[in-house]
Point group: C2
Amino acid sequence: MLEENKINQYLQFFGLQPEELLSIFNLATEKVLAQDEVYIKEGGTSRKLAYIKKGLIRSFHLKENGDEVTVLLRWEDQFLASYDAIFFSQPSRFTYHAMEPTVILEADYASLMELLNANPKFSSAKDFFMNSMLAEMMERVESFVLLNPEERYLRLIKEKSDIVQRCPDKYIATLLGITPVSLSRIRKRLSSRAGH
Amino acid sequence: MLEENKINQYLQFFGLQPEELLSIFNLATEKVLAQDEVYIKEGGTSRKLAYIKKGLIRSFHLKENGDEVTVLLRWEDQFLASYDAIFFSQPSRFTYHAMEPTVILEADYASLMELLNANPKFSSAKDFFMNSMLAEMMERVESFVLLNPEERYLRLIKEKSDIVQRCPDKYIATLLGITPVSLSRIRKRLSSRAGH
DNA sequence: GTCATTAATTAACCTTTGTTAATTCAGCCT
DNA sequence: AGGCTGAATTAACAAAGGTTAATTAATGAC
C-alpha cells in the first residue's frame, strides 16, 4: 500500500472516502522490478496502467544501428503505461525497464477507466491525471520548439536535478534529443563559462 | 451547426442520442474569425474550449528579439484551447490567430467538463478526445527525440501535406524546431537528391 | 502595368552537432 | 593491488544548423 501521508493527500485532494480509494486499489496488484529488469518489452501489448511507488523507469527505442534513444523517464508518484498499446492499440515500439529497484501498482487500464467513469467523484481525479499528463507532454514539445539543446539541459537540471542525478548522462542526452557526446560538450561549455 | 454527416458520425461513434449531443451544443456559441484575426492574445486568460469547424489557427510565442515561434497548428474538426489558461491556470504565453477565415464553436471549459462528467455516456467521448490530444502530443515529442529536422519535415509533409500547403514555410519551420533558412536548405537538399 | 510588401531562397560565415574512435575516469570484482 | 567494464570525456573531421544580409519570387494595392 501507499504510505499513510500519500493516502491522506489523495483523499483530501479529491474529496474521496477511504472505501472509494480502496475500490481503486482493489483493481491493482503490486509488482516489484529488480534493477535493469524489463517491464514492457518492445512488441509487448500490455494494456496496464502502472503507478510507480518507488523507483525509476526508462522507456527507450532501439534504432536499427543498435543505438538506444530514451523516450521518457517516469519515477515515483507518476503513472506509466505503454502508450502504443493504450493510445494506438499497437505493439509497443519501446522497451520500458527499471533503472533502479522499482515498486509499482498495476491495474488493467480498461477496468480502471470503467470504474473511474462509473463514479462521478472519480471523474475529477481522472481529469486531474489526464490533464497533468497532457500538460507535461505539451511542456516538453514546447521545450523543443522554444529552446536549444543547451537551454533544454539547463531547464532539466533546474527542474529535475534529482532525476538527472539518478540517471546516466547518456540516457539524459537522448531524452533531450542530442547525443551523449554533444551533452558532454555542453557541460564543458557551461562549466568553462561559469568558472569565468 | 455542424454538417449533417459530421453530426451522424458523432452520434454513431459515441452512441449518443441527438438530444444529448444537443445539450453539448447548447453550451457552445459560434464565432467567426477573419483571416489574421487574433483569437487569444498573449496574456489572455480565456478558459474556453473551441471546436474548429473550418479554418486554421496558429499558436505562436513571441521571442524577446521579435521572432515568432510556432507552437502548434489546429484546423478543422480539432479542438483548441489556451493550454496555459486551462492546464496551468496562468495567462497565455502564446498568441492564437486565425491564418484563414475561421469558424469555431466555443464553450466554457469548466461548464463543458461538468456536463460531460454528469452523464456517463459522455465520458467515453471525453476520454476519446483527451486520449487523442495526449497521443498527438506524445507523437510530437517522439518526433523530436527520434528524428532529425529533415526527417521531421518529411514526416510532416507525408502525413499533413494539406496543412503544410495552407501554411507559409516560415511557420512550418519553427513548428519543426528549426529556422526558415534551415528549412529552405532542407528542401533544396531533398529536391537535389530526388532529381538524381 | 509599377510599386510595395512579404515569403523564400541563396550566400557567407560562424557555431554547434553528429560520427567515429581514442582516451580517461570510476566503480567493482577477485 | 591489478584488471575489467562501462560511462564520460576528448579529439578530429564532416555535416548541419543559426545568423545576418542580400537577392529573387510571388502577391496584392494602386
